[in-house]
Amino acid sequence: MATYFGEVLSVYSRAVEEDEYDDLEDENEEDVQIRREIEEKREVQVRWCPEVSKTLESSGQLQCSNMIIAVGPSAAGFVSAYVLSAEGWTQVGWVSLWNERSRGSSRPDTVPQPGEPSFIIYQQNSSPSVLICQCTCYIAEDQLFQCAEKVLSSVQRRGLNVTVLSDSTLAEYKTPDYLNGSGTPFLRALKTSSYTGSMLCPLLEQPNIVTGLPAAVLSHCQVQRIPAVLFQCYTDVLHPDSVTMETYKPALSCLSTSVKLEACPSVEVLQKLTQISDAQSNLYT
């Protein structure tokens, strides 16, 4: 498109890709084969430890009363510092997937290393019907639906309650009054129609929306009529930080009978989780 000053700018749309979808119509066998291979490579797999695999083989689905899914570095950090350190949890499974940003699964059958971006599933030792999922890896748009479906289909729908904890940046929060950061970090909630619990924080106001894995999980729960609640934490810090992690505490208070929370995690634990964001060196040091 030519502008007033004579230079030519490319015009793009926020809604659609510029290329017409026509190219997909003229595919030959080789294209179809390549497309199928890429699809297989991008498939999401839920892997379980041997004991759980045996249970699944006999009964088909795990019995689960509460599933907590933490998405994002601060949410995952909160789970590590406040929940997993409080009492006995065992790692029982993980989700292996490959995409351009998460290439971890060159060894899809091995458990991800600690510190590697991953999606790990923990089971509470004292009460095996409570599961926690910690997701720190990038899940591509085309894998979100599959991931949510496969994880939630491994557990029985009856009696299941799902809680999702998710990080978001303050920049994404739309409000008529400018937020100068004094109230951050804060929580907002979304719930499915079948969720009957009390709300511990305000609901997410229109026109704000939620995307990514939390949205995929919530949509699945809404359609399957599973009671589910999502707590989205808006923070102005890009890296995992202890203040943001602490903000999630009220979100699990209603599960206090099933999930024990560490009231005050040690400084060492918190430091280890937030250390990744320290600058190794910069131009000025």
Binding site: V16, Y21, L144, K174, S193, L203, Q206, P207, I209, T211
Partner: protein, 262 residues
């Protein structure tokens, strides 16, 4: 696939279905929002599919009447709303179609339309305004297309003075006789139209040439134009149509401005 919100599946037999194409300016989707919001259409189900990017939020039509659900009704990326008196259903699509799933999505739509028994389907769409040729730059920016199964609507559309979308030369300058359909920026419009022609599905495409920007005026243009045909709303004595803007249209261009900026 369609999942009902209630325990029983609603019947859409003989209904008119309006659905948007995710296209330039999101005009079709904004138009669907206007229709659902103004007619207070309750949600009757979700269109649950892996072909669309996932999204969730609270009821976009709440505040000022709502549409059956309260502010806390969870909304997903594709939902079906219904108005039994008008025998109208609207499938609202809120997120883009995944590139690799475009064909599957079209197939899914066609099969749902056929199995639900809709008497006609109206696809609201848009196309890049900068691709118009010299002829198209004159006159109205609105166009229509009809699949062969809905050809009998042509008379009423011609009486309204509507213009059919022109076909363009497949090889401009070389061979002017071969024409093809060209809808740049229209998303699945061309593909869905072609599929509906092949599958004998009665489909009307109502399309607006526009560009990205503040597309709210374009939305009103498209919905008023559609209303001239479908008579969804009565016009006021002053001649305007009383569309109601949904609460989700607030802050389309971002949050409030920091006062310190000035």
């Amino acid at each position: 696939m369609f999942v009902s919100s209630e325990d029983s599946t609603p019947s859409f037999k003989g209904f008119t279905l309006i659905l948007p194409a995710v296209s330039v300016g999101n005009v079709g989707q904004l138009a669907a929002d206007l229709i659902i919001s103004t007619l207070n259409m309750p949600r009757v189900g979700h269109f649950h599919t892996d072909c669309l990017v996932p999204m969730a939020g609270n009821n976009p039509y709440s505040g000022g009447g709502g549409s059956g659900g309260g502010a806390e009704q969870l909304s997903t990326n594709a939902e079906v709303y219904s108005h039994s008196d008008l025998r109208l259903a609207v499938l609202q699509i809120r997120t883009p179609v995944l590139q690799t799933k475009v064909k599957s999505f079209r197939k899914l739509l066609v099969s749902w339309i056929k199995s639900s028994g809709f008497s006609r389907t109206v696809l609201l769409s848009s196309s890049h305004a900068h691709h118009r040729d010299d002829q198209q730059l004159h006159g109205t920016a609105l166009r229509y297309l009809l699949s062969p199964a809905l050809q009998d609507a042509e008379k009423s559309l011609k009486e309204l003075g509507w213009t059919e979308l022109e076909r363009v030369c497949a090889f401009p300058g070389i061979n002017d006789s071969e024409k093809r359909l060209y809808i740049p920026g229209g998303g699945v419009t061309k593909g869905l139209y072609t599929d509906c022609c092949t599958e004998c599905v009665p489909l009307a495409v109502v399309l607006l040439f526009c560009s990205e920007g503040d597309n709210v005026p374009d939305t009103f243009t498209l919905t008023n134009h559609l209303n001239d045909w479908l008579h969804l709303l009565e016009k006021t004595p002053q001649g305007s149509t009383p569309w109601r803007v949904p609460s989700s249209w607030r802050l389309l261009f971002g949050s409030g401005i920091p006062p310190l900026l000035f």
